[in-house]
């Protein structure tokens, strides 16, 4: 079999399994877990698209997620707009923030982008608490309408968005565009010498990444039916980064595997409630040391090679 076909078959199999799982087990609990996993999948894929490909790590992805979720929350409750406006609004809000953060920082080499994103997310979380008259403070915004009433259909919709996100971003990553982004990770100066507008590519990829993160944030707001400042927390970003690292950097599909794996693991570790974030942080340190290539993508590559009949 050809490698491409095996990849497609694997993707189809995984997708159908995820789609029918709630039908087989018929539990709202499982459906909730899978919905969250799919949303985390969207976030991880969007993180991997910018940071995995260009090697500019974004420590404040939660900024885009939170902004998207709050945009959805405001639109739906304060202004009473139809819930379906939330997705484009979330994307747009995140894009605005991506431009504000990206234009000053991505022109530069060095760690400025990573740190500025971290600062941005921390400060936004503080602002949500400080301006509690407008944002609801610690409580956040409550009473958001569901996007789709039936949890099963909503789950399928989220899954569909995950597939769409992955197809779009994965396609972009394999195109000439993605090649340029990977080249920037390899050697920025050479790219510049070859006449590429490096800054433009970096900012554009951040904008695309932010748009999907913001959309994921809006989906999350309509799943939880409320938003809180906790969305902006650094741990949200770290959770996503850990998922991508577990999945395997810059593979796009690996990020989904990481998101699924870690979300399910979290549910199994539910009894350890308070220890969850500790486990994540320690897992991240261990992965950085012992599995820099990640877990999901290398495993899949091995399986694929086995199926292809030992061909490299």
């Amino acid at each position: 079999m050809q490698l491409k076909n095996i990849d497609r078959g694997g993707a189809f199999l995984a997708l159908s399994l995820m789609a029918v799982l709630p039908l087989i087990f018929d539990s709202t609990y499982l459906m909730g877990v899978l919905t969250v996993a799919a949303i985390y999948g969207i976030w991880s894929v969007s993180w991997d698209f910018m940071s995995g490909l260009t090697g500019r790590e974004n420590f404040g992805h939660s900024l885009f997620i939170g902004v998207g979720a709050y945009a959805a929350g405001f639109l739906n409750t304060t202004w009473g707009a139809n819930a379906w406006w939330s997705l484009p609004a979330g994307m747009l809000a995140a894009v605005v923030f991506a431009l504000i953060m990206g234009i000053p920082t991505l022109r530069l080499k060095g760690p400025y982008f990573a740190l500025a994103m971290l600062s941005g997310a921390v400060i936004m979380q503080r602002l949500m608490l400080i301006f509690w008259e407008y944002t609801g403070g610690e409580e956040g915004i409550n009473g958001i309408e569901p996007l789709i009433r039936s949890p099963l259909y909503f789950y399928w919709f989220v899954l569909g968005m995950l597939v769409l996100t992955t197809a779009l971003l994965g396609g972009l990553a394999r195109s000439r565009w993605g090649l340029i982004l990977k080249a920037i990770r390899g050697d920025e100066a050479t790219c510049q010498a070859a006449g590429l507008n490096v800054t433009y590519y970096k900012i554009a990829s951040l904008v695309i990444s932010a748009a999907f993160a913001g959309m994921g944030g809006a989906l999350y707001a309509h799943y939880q039916l409320q938003v809180s400042p906790q969305l902006f927390a650094v741990v949200t970003s770290i959770t996503i980064i850990t998922m991508v690292y577990v999945g395997g950097m810059s593979t796009i599909y690996g990020a989904i595997g990481g998101a699924l794996l870690l979300t399910l693991m979290t549910e199994m570790l539910r009894d350890f409630g308070e220890w969850r974030l500790m486990i994540y942080s320690v897992a991240l340190i261990l992965i950085l040391f012992f599995l820099p290539q990640g877990l999901v993508a290398p495993t899949w590559k091995k399986i694929r090679d086995r199926l292809a009949g030992g061909r490299p």
Binding site: G55, E57, F59, I100, M101, I103, P104, T105, R107, L108, G110, P111, Y112, A114, L115, A116, L118, S119, G120, V122, I123, R126, L127, I130, F131, V234, V235, I238, I241, E274, W275, L277, M278, Y280, S281, V282, L284, I285, L288, F289
Partner: protein, 284 residues
């Protein structure tokens, strides 16, 4: 007016203690340490544990905590950061992960409630009609003395010259037989100790809870961007600028807007002059 002058100075003093350590370890070892805020948090919590739970007098507890956190910083550098030093991003990742481990450890042991760190001086003083807590004045003094001491140490001692040499040219320094790995450990310990001292001094009038390490990192980063990465005079000047800017905003507009100052300053500076005010010069 005098109020702004005094409170701005105190805020700047704390920021300077944080930013000098942060910029020092970057200037010397090229380590951007996102766990820097954790040292600050550990300083405050260390003082709390020793004084409240073990009834150690603060004057004894403070040096113990500073030394303990300095050793912790050394261990972290040796075990976790050094193997990752090849890649700056890996250092950022690992130090951020460390800071979260510390945060979670504090959360799991002490819970998320605010803790009270005792003051050295409970008394209040009146300066030109302004009420100032003695602790704040002492913080100002401690900051000036500790940063001054650090500066003298770097300028006057043999070890200080070695640190300076590495920051100017790491390879040449190594050819001259300076054991750079060992120096990094020492610098990390000094940087961590200074942050812990800031935590002990600022603990009584700031909120001490597990996620307290995040804002100091944001402030230190803003200061270091404005002052220039790796420059100690730059970070002192920038700490004064940020401290006074925040105080002015607090008095002139509203305390709500103070938090925006640091991020706005960072972004503006990166647009106008990315190297910072003192960026092009040598580290000291």
């Amino acid at each position: 007016m005098l109020e702004i002058l005094i409170f701005g100075a105190v805020t700047s003093a704390i920021y300077a203690m944080l930013a000098v350590g942060f910029t020092l370890i970057f200037g010397v070892a090229r380590i951007l340490n996102l766990a820097h805020g954790s040292f600050y948090a550990l300083g405050a919590y260390g003082a709390y544990v020793l004084t409240t739970l073990f009834n150690v007098p603060l004057i004894v507890a403070a040096p113990l905590v500073v030394i303990g956190v300095a050793l912790f910083g050394m261990v972290v550098e040796r075990v976790l950061i050094r193997p990752m030093r090849k890649s700056q991003l890996a250092v950022l990742m690992i130090s951020l992960a460390i800071s979260l481990v510390v945060e979670q450890a504090l959360f799991l042991t002490f819970g998320s409630e605010y803790r009270n760190v005792p003051s050295f001086i409970e008394q209040k003083y009146v300066i030109g009609g302004v009420d100032v807590a003695g602790q704040r004045l002492l913080t100002l003094l401690v900051s000036v003395v500790s940063i001054g001491g650090l500066y003298l140490f770097i300028q006057k001692t043999r070890l200080g010259s070695a640190i300076l040499a590495i920051s100017q040219d790491p390879e040449a320094a190594q050819y001259m037989g300076i054991p750079s790995d060992r120096i990094f450990g020492v610098v990390m310990a000094m940087s961590a100790g200074l942050a812990a001292l800031a935590g002990i001094m600022a603990g009584p009038f700031l909120s001490v809870q597990p996620s307290m390490h995040l804002l100091p990192i944001v402030k230190a980063f803003a200061i270091v961007v404005v002052g220039g990465l790796g420059s100690i005079p730059g970070s002192i000047v920038a700490a004064l600028m940020l401290g006074y800017a925040e105080t002015l905003v607090a008095y002139g507009i509203s305390t709500s807007w103070t938090e925006i100052v640091s991020v706005a300053a960072t972004l503006l500076m990166l647009v106008l002059r990315p190297a910072g005010f003192f960026g092009k010069r040598a580290a000291f």
